[in-house]
């Protein structure tokens, strides 16, 4: 098989395993949908004072999309790669002629495809709640998604080096991401957060990705592509990539 066919082969089986795993289907697919439905129902009719004032439901579409994309990439990769590492599956794979990067490429491909599906799913559900799909901004939305997804994939792979065991994976990933979602305005609209909180959240990539996604998705003044936010997200991604290259390990930490 050519290298590309080999990546496709690996991807096919990663997809099967992803959709059969109840934890990944619930946390990556169902959870963002449920979260959006709750927020859309609770805050329906309210306005959020950003971008010149928008409906709360319109606000939460790009907010929960950002969360879903980070979940499909960083969170899914960090958790499934640690499990595969500790199960000895990464080590086993290295004993075959398959180039190691093919394995990673298959997983990254899986994450990006799931992220794209979540974009479509949440856009459709958002439209039911009156958040129109901004078709004319599709190129900007896809560009933002691809840069964000790739960067958060790199961060997820890098994060595996800091996770010692399967049991620690969910705890460490959630301990990092959940507070950042709150501080970045993903759960609580940013007009209700003190300035200091946003300034603090600005130190991390979640806030910049959400901001870029909001610019791409909500047609309220300003260009659709937020280059400065995307540049910061991409820098985080490159840093993650370098850390991953240096510290990623294929053999189990335990046993």
């Amino acid at each position: 098989m050519s290298a590309l066919a080999l990546v496709g082969h690996q991807f096919r089986y990663d997809q099967k395993a992803f959709w059969r795993n109840p934890a990944s289907v619930f946390f990556t697919v169902m959870f963002p949908v449920i979260l959006f439905l709750i927020l859309a129902v609770v805050f329906s009719g309210e306005k959020v004072d950003v971008r010149g004032g928008i409906e709360a439901t319109t606000y939460y579409v790009p907010a929960i999309m950002s969360l879903a994309i980070i979940s499909a990439t960083m969170q899914t990769l960090a958790m499934t790669l640690v499990i595969a590492r500790e199960d000895g599956r990464l080590k086993r794979g290295r004993g075959t002629p398959m180039p190691p990067w093919v394995f990673i490429a298959g997983r990254v491909g899986n994450s990006i495809v799931v992220a794209l599906m979540m974009l479509v799913l949440l856009a459709a559900i958002g439209a039911l709640f009156g958040a129109d799909v901004p078709w004319d901004r599709l190129p900007a939305i896809l560009l933002t998604l691809v840069i964000g997804a790739a960067s958060f994939c790199c961060l997820g792979i890098a994060l595996t080096a800091a996770i010692p065991s399967q049991d620690a994976a969910a705890a460490i990933v959630n301990a990092m991401l959940l507070p950042l979602y709150f501080l970045s305005g993903v759960f609580i609209p940013e007009d209700q957060l003190p300035d200091g909180v946003i300034a603090f959240a600005d130190l991390f990539p979640v806030r910049h990705f959400f901001d870029a996604f909001m610019d791409a998705y909500v047609p309220a003044g300003g260009p659709a592509v937020s280059w400065d936010n995307l540049a910061i997200v991409a820098l985080w991604g490159v840093a993650g990539l370098l850390l991953a290259i240096r510290y990623f390990r294929w053999t189990p930490r335990s046993g």
Partner: protein
């Protein structure tokens, strides 16, 4: 060959012939896994020369990996893929894989082909491990303690699978701490203890080792007498001469040669004596 700060194995000199089942036998912590991981290319060695299928495993590439199959000591498969899917996935990594259905037959999992691997028993998972190593149709298979922790019937089934590998013409490098496993499966056995080789030969040769003590038992005046000797012919001659002269029969006379198990325990106990040469856990 060392791993971390402790030298795990030293002065190991192995020579495995094409088409044989070679058993590398030793107690836990003897350095078996360290050695086999050096041969598999997983670990760097601090010294010495290694050639596996004509290449140095540290530098060997994809073409070499096409020719070997590895069963690691521990490891789980993706629990959400079936037996058939797991084998198909690995078959895709190799240029000339065996047909998945044939591999399923060789490992005796015909009835479980569409079962998810997470639902297999420990013994079935281990046989699938062997299948995953076999599906690339390698010339050489490494099996690191393939039956540790098995119940007797699962071991018997695993042994049948391994014996079948020899019939396929594969070379098998088997590590084990079970003597009966080496005796049952191997053409040649090398015994390692505390990082050093203490014996080598066919299972029969090792059982006949001259160094082992012969045990002579008999009853005299209703009491059991046990004599351990390295010169059984002379000792027996003396005993029987005395018995004939004195008119006292050696009741229940029994002469036992050391079994392979005795030899193994004796050798590994000897090697463990100097505590300075401790191995690392394998």
């Amino acid at each position: 060959m060392s791993y971390g700060a402790t030298e795990a194995v030293r002065g190991i000199d192995l020579d495995v012939q094409r088409g044989e089942v070679f058993a590398f036998l030793g107690p836990n912590g003897a350095g078996k896994t360290t050695t086999v991981e050096i041969l598999e290319g997983y670990r760097r060695r601090s010294g010495g020369e290694v050639s596996v299928l004509g290449e140095d495993p540290e530098r060997a590439g994809r073409a070499w990996r096409e020719r070997i199959g590895i069963v690691l000591q521990s490891g789980r498969l993706d629990p959400y893929l079936t037996v058939r899917e797991s084998l198909d996935l690995y078959a895709g990594y190799f240029r000339n894989p065996l047909a998945t259905a044939d591999v399923i037959g060789l490992i005796g999992l015909e009835g479980k082909a569409d079962e998810r691997t997470g639902r297999l028993s420990g013994g079935q998972q281990r046989r699938l491990d062997v299948g995953m190593a076999l599906v690339g149709d390698p010339e050489l298979l490494f099996l690191d303690e393939p039956t540790t922790g098995f119940d007797p019937s699962a071991r018997r089934q695993a042994w049948d699978v391994i014996a079948g590998l020899r019939d396929l013409g594969k070379t098998v490098f088997l590590t084990t701490h079970y003597m009966d496993e080496a005796q049952r499966l191997a053409d040649r056995v090398t015994i390692i203890a505390a990082g050093r080789i203490v014996a080598r030969g066919t299972p029969e040769d090792l059982g006949d080792r001259e160094s082992g003590e012969t045990t002579i038992r008999y009853r005299a005046n209703g009491r059991e007498v046990v004599v351990q000797t390295r010169t059984p012919v002379e000792t027996l001659h003396e005993l029987t001469a005395k018995a004939l002269a004195g008119g006292e029969p050696l009741e229940g006379l029994e002469v036992t040669r050391p079994s392979l198990e005795d030899v193994y325990l004796e050798l590994t106990a000897e090697a463990a004596q100097p505590p300075a040469e401790g191995g690392v856990p394998s």
